[in-house]
């Protein structure tokens, strides 16, 4: 079930990516879409609007139904219940070859028996575009994906990355209303993946077509998409911009799936419009928040703390407790001992054992070449965080 974000509305949230080409109209509308395969429910009552010009990501673990949703949009599966509208028109009766959407397949599905240019021309031929026009548009499309001059090659003479570009050109050349990308970067190696991420973004800005991408990689979704939908077990969990998804998750699932998180179960003790407090037995100190939570007092909630939002300070044995400037004394600061250190070059990950035995992750950027030497194993530390940092989740 979709819940409204629980933490304060993102009034002072980071402003989203500038997206002048995104319009207000819903180019795609899923209305109560359910898909069952036998007894298995792959997609469960999904209602979702996607606006024209967006780079939209469907994010979720494998088997969450995101690919099924995409395939229903393309026409390869029919929904068991519900309607899919493209440009306001119900497409239930349209077979895949009549829909104004085109797809880039996970395996690319470049026809191995056709030259690159014939692959790209295929869709135009089906539309009955005349020869000269086909040639012009094919060249243009190959140029767009930086494959100019490779039209005469056979697909087996191309690298994986180049084959993906063929698949992109082949779909884009038809000027679809929406381009669908099924796990577009999963088959590429890490270096190429980073490069393709930025290329996909700039390509989308250049052609101005709505892109819908399916991915299980949260980094990829955050990096590329203008808006993401997180799915879990067929249910749409949260739809938000990448920034909101990370900073204002609406459930434990989203908080855990997108990025890394420390999660604590607790009881809501105080809930005023401007402040709230949660007692978490595992944490040792109450969590103070500088905003209201809109939950019932005494109810069970979960506090999600991102590792990078936890500060670490040295703690001498027997010294008095430190205090965070934006929280009352005794809150948002806990003592602990460093139990594990993983040096990763750009940053160092620490695992700190709290007094109750619970371990907490945090990391520090290595701002200088000697930062890694600041802390060592079994060193006593204070962990502290700001009153605006924790996300309180009701589910």
């Amino acid at each position: 079930m979709t819940d409204a974000p629980v933490s304060s509305a993102p009034s002072n949230a980071p402003s989203p990516k500038p997206t002048p080409h995104v319009k207000d109209n819903a180019i795609i509308r899923f209305e109560g879409i359910t898909k069952r395969f036998g007894k298995m429910v792959a997609v469960d009552n999904v209602t979702l609007d996607i606006r024209e010009g967006e780079f939209f990501a469907l994010l979720g673990p494998s088997g969450c139904g995101k690919t099924t949703l995409l395939r229903m949009l393309a026409g390869f599966e029919s929904p068991t219940e519900g309607r899919i509208l493209i440009d306001g028109k119900d497409v239930a009766s349209l077979p895949p070859n009549k829909r104004p959407v085109n797809m880039v397949f996970q395996s690319y599905a470049v026809f191995p028996h056709m030259k690159v240019s014939d692959n790209v021309a295929y869709g135009l031929k089906m539309d009955g575009v005349d020869g000269g026009e086909i040639k012009r548009r094919v060249d243009e499309a190959l140029e767009l994906v930086k494959l100019g001059g490779l039209g005469v090659r056979m697909p087996d003479q191309l690298s994986g990355g180049q084959r993906q570009r063929v698949a992109l050109a082949r779909a884009l050349v038809k000027r679809p209303r929406v381009l669908l990308l099924d796990e577009p970067l999963s088959a590429l190696d890490a270096k190429l993946r980073d490069q393709m991420r930025s290329e996909l973004t700039s390509l989308q800005e250049k052609v101005g077509i709505t892109f819908i991408m399916v991915t299980h990689d949260q980094d990829e979704a955050l990096a590329i998409a203008t808006r993401c939908a997180v799915m879990n077990r067929g249910v749409l969990t949260q739809v938000a911009s990448p920034g909101d998804l990370y900073e204002f998750p609406n459930s434990r699932f989203v908080a855990d799936f997108v990025g890394s998180v420390n999660m604590f179960e607790g009881v809501l003790e105080k809930d005023e419009p401007n402040e709230a407090q949660v007692r978490c037995p595992e944490l040792g100190a109450p969590v103070y928040l500088d905003h209201g939570v809109t939950g019932a007092r005494g109810s069970t909630v979960w506090v999600a703390l991102r590792p990078e939002k936890i500060e670490m300070h040295k703690r001498a044995e027997g010294s008095t407790a430190m205090k965070m400037e934006d929280a009352p004394a005794g809150t948002n600061v806990v003592p602990g001992v460093i139990r594990d250190i993983v040096y990763l070059g750009s940053e160092t990950n620490y695992e700190i054992e709290l007094e109750g035995g619970r371990r907490v992750k945090t990391f520090r950027s290595n701002l200088t070449r000697y930062d890694q030497e600041d802390f060592t194993w079994d060193e006593p530390v204070w962990l502290a965080w700001h009153a605006c940092s924790p996300a309180v989740l009701l589910s």
């Binding site: 209305e31 069952r36 029919s78 068991t80 219940e81 519900g82 895949p96």
Partner: protein, 295 residues
């Protein structure tokens, strides 16, 4: 789930049966033109066989109109000394043919898969010949061979008198076995063998502990194939069989030439049932094999 919004959707004119989705574009089996073709093909394949089996229970000498149920034809078939002998001959030949073919076929497969040797292409090509050479050519070759080159002694006691036919059957069956086993071998992961040796197994133990278990599904499939090929064969047997070494198909052929009584139907039904059971056993063995593999 809260689907109040959904029940309101128009579901005009559709039967309220279990709601099935529209077939996806590639679910050809759920589209009627292909269903019709598949069903028609199956009717084409099975109607004659089912008719044949049904009429083995028909209480009439002629295979035309249903007169009533009887098992008389089975009794007659089992009391027909020469038919029974032919049936036993067929099974005996198939049994020996299977054993020899599986051994030779497995050896040939391992040889071609494992070793590089001079003249390999020639051997490989010759191994494929019995598979592609028309049956009639092999049949007449066997006729001439056993008549002029290596006459099979007359009057040997049963089952030695079946030797010529068995040899002829092995000659065309074992290359089939070799093909099946070799296909199986090609999926063998050589690292398994190296792992066994790394853990201290000798060459011979590695062969038995690693390679043979991997070959097993291929050996079963090959054995099944050899058995049915032998049981099935008419043409080659027709040319190698003597008056006292009649096999079931040859016997049925001569019965067809003279008089067609439902006795033939009864005997055929028995053979069909035997093949179906054998196939089922073979598939079962292969299935449990592949399940073990997955587990």
């Amino acid at each position: 789930m809260a689907d109040e919004g959904l029940t309101a959707l128009p579901q005009v004119g559709r039967p309220k049966r279990e709601p099935r989705d529209k077939p996806g574009p590639l679910e050809y089996m759920r589209q009627w033109p292909l269903r019709v073709i598949v069903v028609a093909t199956l009717v084409f394949l099975y109607a004659p066989l089912i008719t044949l089996m049904a009429f083995s229970f028909n209480d009439s000498r002629r295979n035309i109109v249903w007169q009533g149920f009887t098992t008389d034809w089975y009794v007659k078939a089992f009391n027909n000394e020469s038919l029974l002998q032919a049936f036993i001959n067929s099974l005996t030949i198939a049994f020996f043919c299977t054993i020899i073919s599986v051994i030779l076929g497995a050896l040939a497969a391992v040889m071609l898969w494992r070793f590089r040797f001079p003249g390999k292409t020639v051997v490989e090509g010759s191994m494929a010949l019995p598979i592609v050479v028309p049956e009639i050519c092999l049949g007449v070759a066997m006729l001439v061979f056993f008549a002029r080159v290596m006459p099979w002694p007359m009057g040997l006691p049963w089952p030695l008198n079946l030797g010529a036919i068995t040899i002829a059957h092995v000659s065309f069956a074992f290359p089939f076995v070799a093909t099946v086993v070799r296909a199986r071998l090609s999926s063998f992961n050589r690292e398994l063998e190296e792992a066994a040796k790394d853990l201290g197994a000798s060459e011979w133990r590695t062969f038995w502990d690693v390679l043979v278990p991997h070959m097993q599904p291929g050996l079963i499939a090959g054995a099944l194939l050899a058995f049915t090929l032998s049981l099935d064969d008419f043409v080659i047997t027709f040319f190698t069989a003597g008056p006292d070494t009649i096999t079931f198909p040859v016997k049925v052929y001569s019965m067809l030439r003279f008089s067609v009584t439902p006795e033939v139907n009864a005997a055929s039904t028995v053979l069909i049932v035997v093949t179906v059971i054998l196939t089922a056993i073979g598939l079962q063995m292969q299935n449990s094999q592949s399940k073990e593999k997955k587990a």
